[in-house]
């Protein structure tokens, strides 16, 4: 006959093993769930207040590797840096439309634009802008060129643009286009059709 003490110990062990098994199963299931898509969970910023104005956007077209000049009506604040940010946001919004010629991921945003000496524009994009960006020489270059050319078109005197991601320097946008050096507006100008 099996001693009661031994039986109790075995039962406790069996329950323990089953409990641990259930716990491990739940953890594995949780890990295997697909990672959530890159989504910006921050609250939507309030719309800019100001007067509507017609601005120039240089929209990239992946099919022919060029920038196309377009005009759009955007509500612009008074402060120059904020005006430039709203213009770039209008450009990014265009890229997030369904029929975009140069798609950017949902949640990509321009958080700030700083002007240095009237020649250099420092553009700060959010993490999703870079992390969700498609990888490739052409598509990455077109994004930079489009931002730089749009800035230069609306704020004459800008000769180069430096892109930061979440306020920090980053070697490349998505593996190809270098971000260490400022992007020259002259380079962007070559792509204008």
């Amino acid at each position: 006959m099996i001693p009661r003490r031994l039986l109790t110990a075995v039962c406790v062990l069996v329950v323990g093993v089953l409990g641990l098994g259930l716990y491990v199963w739940r953890i594995v299931r949780k890990v295997r769930q697909p990672a959530p898509a890159l989504v910006d969970m921050r609250p939507v910023p309030p719309p800019a207040s100001g007067t509507p104005a017609e601005v120039v956007l240089f929209v990239a077209d992946d099919s022919d590797g060029t920038l196309h000049r377009q005009t759009a009506s955007v509500t612009l604040p008074e402060e120059p840096a904020k005006r430039e940010r709203e213009i770039l946001r209008a450009l990014v919004a265009q890229y997030q439309e369904n029929a975009s010629t140069h798609p950017l991921g949902a949640g990509a945003d321009i958080t700030d634009v700083y002007l240095v000496n009237g020649k250099l524009a420092v553009v700060d994009a959010n993490g999703i802008f870079a992390d969700g960006h498609r990888s490739g020489i052409l598509v990455e270059e077109l994004t930079l060129a489009s931002l730089a050319q749009t800035l230069a078109a609306n704020l004459p005197g800008i000769t180069s643009m430096k892109l930061l991601v979440d306020g920090k320097e980053r070697p490349t946008l998505a593996g190809h286009a270098g971000l260490n050096e400022p992007y020259s507006v002259a380079d962007a100008n070559r792509l204008v059709k």
Partner: protein
Amino acid sequence: MRTPAGLRLRPASASGAARRGFFALSGILMLALLWALSPGAQTPPEVKQITIYAAQTSYSLPVITHDGKEYVGLLEVLEPLGAVSASLDGKKWKLRFNNLEAQFTADKTKAKIARGEVEIGGPFLAENGRGQIPLAALPRVLASILPNRPLQFHAAARRLFLDKTEIHFAAELKPGANSQIQLTFSAPVNPSIATEPGGLRMLFRREPVVADKSQDKQNLADKTISSLGYNESNGSAELTIHSPLPLTAFVSSDHKTITVTPEVLPPLGQAKGQPQTFGPPNNPKAGGKPANTAAMPVAREFLVVIDAAHGGTDRGGAITDELAEKDVAMAFARRLHNELRNRGIAVRLVRDGDATLALEQRAEIVNAAVPSLYLAIHAAGSGTGVHIFSSSLTPLTKPTTFLPWDTAQAAFVQTSQQVANAVATELLKHDVPALSLTMSVAPLNAIAAPALAIEVTSPAGKAVEDISSGAYQQSLCTAIATAIAGMRNQLPHGEVAR
């Protein structure tokens, strides 16, 4: 007896047999010396190799012999097929391929792969951290590691076909005064073609060409082309066409048809049944090109350096969830390498494996090689066709002795743009969408030679996965190599660049 010069002479009575022996020995030594100096004796023994043909690439690996058994490195076999890593822990050699784990033990004949056990038919070798398995067991091991990929192994020829990549061919004899034989392949091919007295040989090193049993030896009962033979050995296949006349081969523009004719052809249009896609040697405008350029000697002074971008820990962009840019770029670089070599152009790869190289390192390696042309190969999941980039630096107007590292390309910008335009034009001729653009793509600006970045994307109207299609990549490589061969005289050669 001593002579005035002090030389000791053999007495006149020395036996004639000894003298004859001396001369015979001298003769033998002389013949041995002549044989040793002859080119045939200097040919190194053929290195045993296996060739693996997969959907994304074809590659050859050395085969070693140990205790009478042939062995091949398993890590090297798997490297081009996916993400693979291995570590040696005592006698246990642990392998990880994508999400699958396997364990081999030194000197043991069984291996654990996933949850099963596989007999490898001989002891496992773990030398210098590299795991070697008996060649005969490779199909069994691969079938366990790549369970959903069809596999065929031609053991005697050491040729392994994955993913049903085999290329079949049909031969059609067109009899006449100057008979010709037309070989039609199920996918583009680019063999090395050599003409020799009595026939013509086509060697398929990278192409998975196979023959049916009936095609091994075909007697054609024709005065001009007497027979067609197929043979495969040591990781390659060979087609031999026998003829009493000198032969020439013409390759169609899509590289799917090769027509072999006697060297002297009637003018175009007079020979009945002559395919329209081929032109005689004296009519280059007719669209064909003599394939015997493939047998041209390699010109060392003209060097193309191909740089498959990314690699190692830098996977580059994700073409799909499984397909990394670094792997597509490597496969494409290898194809382009072969395509250029077949045109008699010396080629070097910056990386020929999964190595991590910084952009500065790449520029250093390339500049040290003093190439005539540098090609950085990239791949992207978006867009169609090929994007060709040359540097956007302002061209240097005055020649200079020293080139600044960051703008070394300025001295070569104009030539680079000419090559980019030539490549784009040739691709468009092959109905491949091509864009030639000027952009400062790293490390082009630091390259002191004409330099391009070539970004390969998927074929127009096809799924993004088709970027790794062998036929698609081959057609691009053919066009790019043709353009480069055409620009050869306009590019600096090694001595000039130095």
